[in-house]
Symmetry: C2
Subunit: 139 residues, 2 copies
C-alpha cells in the first residue's frame, strides 16, 4: 500500500504549535474507513517531519525518549491518508489505513478497548492478535 | 437531553495516569452518531471527576488555567454517551452528543476543519455558526 504522503514537504508553510507541551503535540489516529479512533500518540517536530516524508505515522515515544515509527517492529504500520489540524494548531487528526490486525500492543484493534461501565473499565471487545507472537512478550 | 453519566462515581476503581503530562491527560471527543472527531482537550483529576458527576465534558483550560465545562457560556455542551480509556490509562476517548451547531470557537462543527493539501492547511468546510454572535467576538 503506497502512502498518500511521501517525499520532502516544506513544513514552514503549515506551522504547528509545539510549545504548549514541551515540544510535543498530540496526534489522534483514526481509521480512514471505519472512523474508529485507534490510538493517540505524541509528535515532536522531527517526528512530524518524518511522518510527512515517509507517509507512515511516526511518534516521539515519551517512555523510550526517541522517535518511534509505529509498526516498525510489528509491521503494523499506519499509512497516512489525510491530516487535519485543529483551530489552535496544537493537535493533529490523522486518518490512516492501519496495516495488520491491530494497533494496540496489548493485542487489540484499537488501544481504546475498555469502556466505562458502572464505574469500572470493562474490556468491551476481543483481542485481534497475539502480541506475544508479534512482540515476543505477553503484554 | 439527559447525560448518560450523572451523579457521584468512585474514581479509585478506574485509575487514570495523570503523571505523564503534569497532571493532565488528553481527551478525544468524538460524535457518537457520525463518529467525527470534534476536538481534543485536556483534563486534570478535578475535570475528570466533574465530567463524571455532571455528564457534561469538562476540561482543564491550559490557557485560562481553570476548569472549563465545554459550552458553559455558548450552550454548546458535550453530553457524555460513552467513555473509553487506552491501554496505558493515560488518554480518554469520549463519545458525545454535541449540543448546538458546532464545538469550535471559530464557528465550525469540528475544531479539525483544516486539511493538509499540497503542503498547506486548507479550510475544507464551511462554518456552521457565527461565533461573534455566540461569544461576542469575531474569532
Amino acid at each position: 500500500m503506497t502512502p498518500a504522503l511521501c517525499g520532502h514537504i516544506e513544513t514552514n508553510i503549515m506551522p504547528l504549535d509545539f510549545n504548549k507541551l514541551d515540544g510535543l503535540i498530540p496526534a489522534v489516529v483514526q481509521d480512514a474507513t471505519s472512523q474508529r479512533v485507534l490510538m493517540v500518540g505524541f509528535m515532536n517536530e522531527v517526528a512530524w517531519q518524518k511522518t510527512l516524508e515517509t507517509g507512515f505515522v511516526t511518534f516521539f515515544s515519551r517512555t523510550r525518549n526517541k522517535l518511534w515509527m509505529k509498526g516498525e517492529s510489528s509491521g503494523h504500520k499506519l499509512v497516512v491518508r489525510e491530516i487535519s489540524t485543529d483551530c489552535d494548531d496544537d493537535t493533529l487528526l490523522i486518518q490512516v489505513d492501519a496495516l495488520g490486525p491491530g494497533v494496540c500492543h496489548a493485542g487489540y484493534q484499537s488501544c481504546f478497548y475498555r469502556k466505562l461501565e458502572n464505574g469500572q473499565w470493562i474490556e468491551s471487545e476481543k483481542p485481534t492478535y497475539d502480541p506475544s507472537t508479534t512482540y515476543g512478550t505477553t503484554k
